[in-house]
Structure formats: C-alpha cells, structure tokens
Symmetry: C2
Subunit: 320 residues, 2 copies
C-alpha cells in the first residue's frame, strides 16, 4: 500500500523505521511526507529514512493530489482545544477517497461522529488506535474481538503526566517540581497544564465515549476536575495511610445519555487503578456480555504509538 | 452458520441462550447437540433451549456425519491430564472438514501444534479463546490486533481457585477451609488439587506458549510448584507485612527455547499481579514492538466462557 504522512515528528520517524524493519513481510511504502518545518518529500518508489526534502507543498490538499496515496497518516502537531488542523486534513483525505489513520486524539474527541459518517459515505477506512493508550489495542479490541458486545461504561487512568506529578506530590514535592520531573522524563506535553488540568484525560474520555458508546460528545462536555483542584499536601498525607490519588476518566449511562467525568479520586494503594505504577495506563471496560475487561499498557512510549499506526495500517490492508 | 455442540453442560446452555438473544443480528443455528448423559438432539431448523433428546449417537463420528454442521463446538468434560476425549473429537471434526471451536484447554495445552497443522491441511478454522481467562480476548487480541508482533514471554495469575484459597490462608484459614470456600463459590474444579497443585496454571501456561510462542510443549514440561509447596501459615504472616503470595504462570525464552514455570511468588500488595482481587485474572504479555501489554478479566464466569465461544464463531464466520 502507498502511504503518505502528514507530519513527521518523533512518532512519524519511529513509524518509518518500523516499516523498514517489517518491509519483507508487510510491503507498505511511504511515498510522500509533508511537514511545515522541513518541506515536502515525494518518491513513488518509497522514501528512505532520510527523505530528500523539497519545497513545502502549497497545502495539504495539493500534497495529497500530488502524492496520490491509498492511505494518509495524520500526525501533525495538534491544537488540542479544537482538534484542528488535523480534522481539516482528515476531511481533505476523505474527499479524495483516501483511507485515514491518525494518532491525534483531537479529531476523535471533537468530531468523531461526523468524520466516521464521512468515511462511510466515501467507503474509506478510518483508524485511530494510537489516540488513547499509545497504540495498545482498545478500539481494535472492541471492533475485532468483542462482536455484539455493548460497552456500558469505563474507568481509566489514561494520562501519564498527571501520574508522574501525583507521584511527586506523594513524595512531598510541589506541583511545579512534579511537572519538571514529567518534562525531564519526556512524558509532559508542550503545555503541561493541558495534562494537569485534566484536559488530556477529558479528550481521551470523549474519544472513547464517541467511538465505543456513540456519545457524540466533546472534551468540553466532560465534568472535569484536575490536579489544581486538590490540596497539594494531600497526596503525601494519603500515602502515609496507604492511599493514593489518581486522575480517573470515567463514563456511565445515566438517564439514557453518557455521563463523562475526569476527577482526582482517592483510592487504596491495593486498588487496581492505583497499582498501575510509573507512566503506565489502565482502562477498565464495563460490558453487557463479557463482564469487566481491563487493558494495561506498561510504560508506553513513542515506539508503541508508532506501532499503533502500523497495526491500523495492517487492519486497513486486511479490510479492503 | 450451522453449529453442532459436543457436550452440553453449563457453558453449552449459556451459549445456547446467548445465540438466542443475538439471533437477529448473528444468524447462527444450533442444528445438533450430543451428550453422554441426555442423548443426542437434531433439528436442521435450529434447536431451542429445550432440545428434544433422542437416543445417543453411536459415536461422535456418527453424530457429526448425521448433523453435518459447518462448525463443531467441543465442550465435553475434560480429562485434563491427557486432553482426551476432546482431542479425538476435534480430529474427527477436522477429518470431516468441519471448523472447530473448543473451550477445553487440554487440546491446546497437549496437542496444539499437530491440531493446528491438521486444521491448515484441511483448510478449516480452529478457535479456542475460552481456554484461558474465560473468553477474555487473548489469542484473538494477538492474532487480530498485534500483527507482526513477537511475544517474548508472559507472566499471569490465571487460576481462580488458587487465588481464593490463598486469600483464605491469608485470613488464617487452613488449605482445606480455603478449598471448601472455592467450592462454595463454584470456582473450584471437580478435583480441587488440579488447581491447588498448579496443574491448571501449567496447562494454561502451556496453551499460551504453544499458540503465542510456538513452544510445542505440554503441561508436564512446565516447572511446577503448587500451594502444597508453601508453608500454610506464610500467607497470613506476609499479609501483616503488606505482601501476598500469588500462583504465577510465566514464560521466557532462554537459550532459544521457552522456559515455562508455575510457582507461588511473594509479591508486595501494590504489585500489579497482587492487586487482582477475588477470582479475577491478569496476564502480562512481553512483546518486541508493543512493550508490555496487560489484559484483565474481572470475576469471570460461565457467561464469559460462553461469550468466548460466540466471539470465536463470529471470527470464523468473518474468516471463511
């Protein structure tokens, strides 16, 4: 399959390396890469790991028209408040009957229902496994392995930065020191307050609810409390009592609609959601036929996010 | 699809109820059921929940010849030491070009490699999701959602009875009292020592290693220690120190071959494998491309096992 990348940061580079390693068994080809910073590169025979950058295409539309890919992978830097420009890029690809994979949670959190309808109308595939839990199978698990199952709700610890910061508070450090620790570990976003105030957790909750519970919601509709809403001394006090605070994203049906919450919750250290150490994430799905199923990703990183794109690409290749 | 059941205990009945609920969206039909106790029932238009039992077919072969199903579901009572008679039933179905689903771990633990080769030769499908973790997607997760990934090893708490018994020991009860507790809860097998001595955990480890790591092994080859190998007072002592014992199944590559172990391990209460309460199970898969992925099944029961059969059936319907 001929693949075009829109964006080429750390995830894009890890993805290109992965494709090269898997070339003999999965014959996918990156035929074009478009970036704001480096320019644009094309090679219909497949680009290597050092793309020959030329001048930037005039627009993503012009890029796609020139590249003629079967699949576009949207991995630009996101404005998380709006999901743009990723949403516009995805629409441009759909309009050209191109399958789309994205690692950007914004489009799924803000506009999943209309994007999904557009993909169906155009009879193209749309995948986004890396948007929540860094490529660990969640969406594909429900789609491929849980046929006929209804998701009744979920609870999850989905944001690594807030976990690191809460761990620092627990050891008696300040919020700011915790943030610097998360930045040194490379897990904090450019704007750490997006994580700390629960926006990232809210976006992931909205994305999960949109896809798995047909919620047609967005991050703004999530009842949201963040780490600035707790007493910064409390985690250290709770630690002495064998308890911990986690920023929990949750969803449940109430009165026929989906209620979404992000909230710092006090949990005993032996609680499942508390025992996920470091930057690891855990999601519990409540179902009608399969009881409660949990998925863990242990200390995920950019390689996992890149693999999520790869697994989406294989899934599209199998579907078409 | 036309389905025949070999065996009709609690799982079979739950499966029949599930098919009835899902009839409108998943048009599968149970056309025949063979049991040792009740006899045999046939109806090519589909059997209801009260099958009209006739005399038992002379053999499973005669039953399959008469029923002519597309899929046979093997859910007889198992002799766990040998995997028989389930293995023979599965071979009989393959010989008739019938797809097979089983919830019996014996065939996968003892004879996976040769059964899988036979299925390929006959170009029929072979599924067994319910054999480990009661239908929670493990095998299908690797097969469908982790393309190109190599499983490097695993660690799991996979046996509910030993968890209940260890919990009882922790509270100061005896091994025998713990076993009676597990029997009252309905989680212990007919012979509780099969669980207590680690044979069930060993069979699950062998099944996982055979399918996910091409190990060609069997339960006898697993290095196995059970709950009779620990001091029965130790769990209570450890509990006072914030620690717990879990019967852990694990696999790793050493010197090019797969080393399998079942062993009671001392873990801090905050360890992931320790924080899975009650009868819940947890499996951590170590992979080359996706780091460590965990799957949890929370207090699974017969409904989940039945759903695992159903998801296998849908997967076969999609594959053929």
């Amino acid at each position: 399959m001929r693949v075009a990348l829109i964006g080429y940061g750390n995830v894009g580079k890890a993805f290109a390396r992965l494709l090269q390693v898997k070339q003999s068994t999965f014959p996918f080809r990156i035929v074009a890469i478009h970036t704001a910073r480096h320019g644009t590169a094309y090679d219909s025979n497949g680009l290597g790991l050092a793309p020959p950058w030329g001048p930037a295409a005039a627009s993503v539309e012009a890029f796609l028209d020139e590249a003629q890919p079967e699949v576009a992978i949207e991995i630009t830097t996101l404005n998380p408040e709006s999901g743009e420009p990723a949403i516009a890029h995805i629409r441009s690809a759909f309009a050209r009957n191109i399958h789309v994979i994205t690692a950007n949670k914004g489009p799924i959190a803000h506009a999943y229902s209309s994007l999904n309808a557009e993909a169906r109308r155009r009879q193209v595939e749309f995948r986004f496994e890396s948007t929540v839990m860094d490529g660990t199978p969640i969406f594909s698990n429900v789609r491929n392995n849980l046929p006929g199952v209804k998701i009744l709700g979920f609870r999850g610890v989905l944001n690594s930065t807030s976990k690191v910061v809460l761990g620092a508070l627990q050891r008696g450090l300040t919020l700011e020191e915790g943030i610097r620790e998360a930045q040194r570990m490379g897990v904090a976003e450019a704007d750490p307050w997006y994580d700390i105030d629960g926006w990232d957790s809210a976006a992931k909750a909205a994305a999960l609810a949109n896809v798995l519970m047909q919620a047609q919601t967005n991050p703004q509709e999530v009842e949201r409390r963040g780490l600035r809403d707790i007493d910064p001394q409390e985690p250290a006090r709770l630690a002495r009592a064998g308890k911990t605070i986690q920023l929990v994203s949750s969803a449940e049906y109430t009165n026929g609609s989906v209620r979404l919450q992000v909230s710092p919750e006090i949990l005993p250290n032996t609680d499942l959601l508390a025992s996920v150490a470091g930057t690891s994430n855990l999601l519990l799905l409540y179902t009608d036929l399969m009881g409660t199923i949990g998925t863990l990703s242990i200390d995920p990183g950019v390689e996992q996010t890149a693999y999520g794109l790869f697994s989406d690409l294989v899934d599209i290749a199998r579907s078409v």
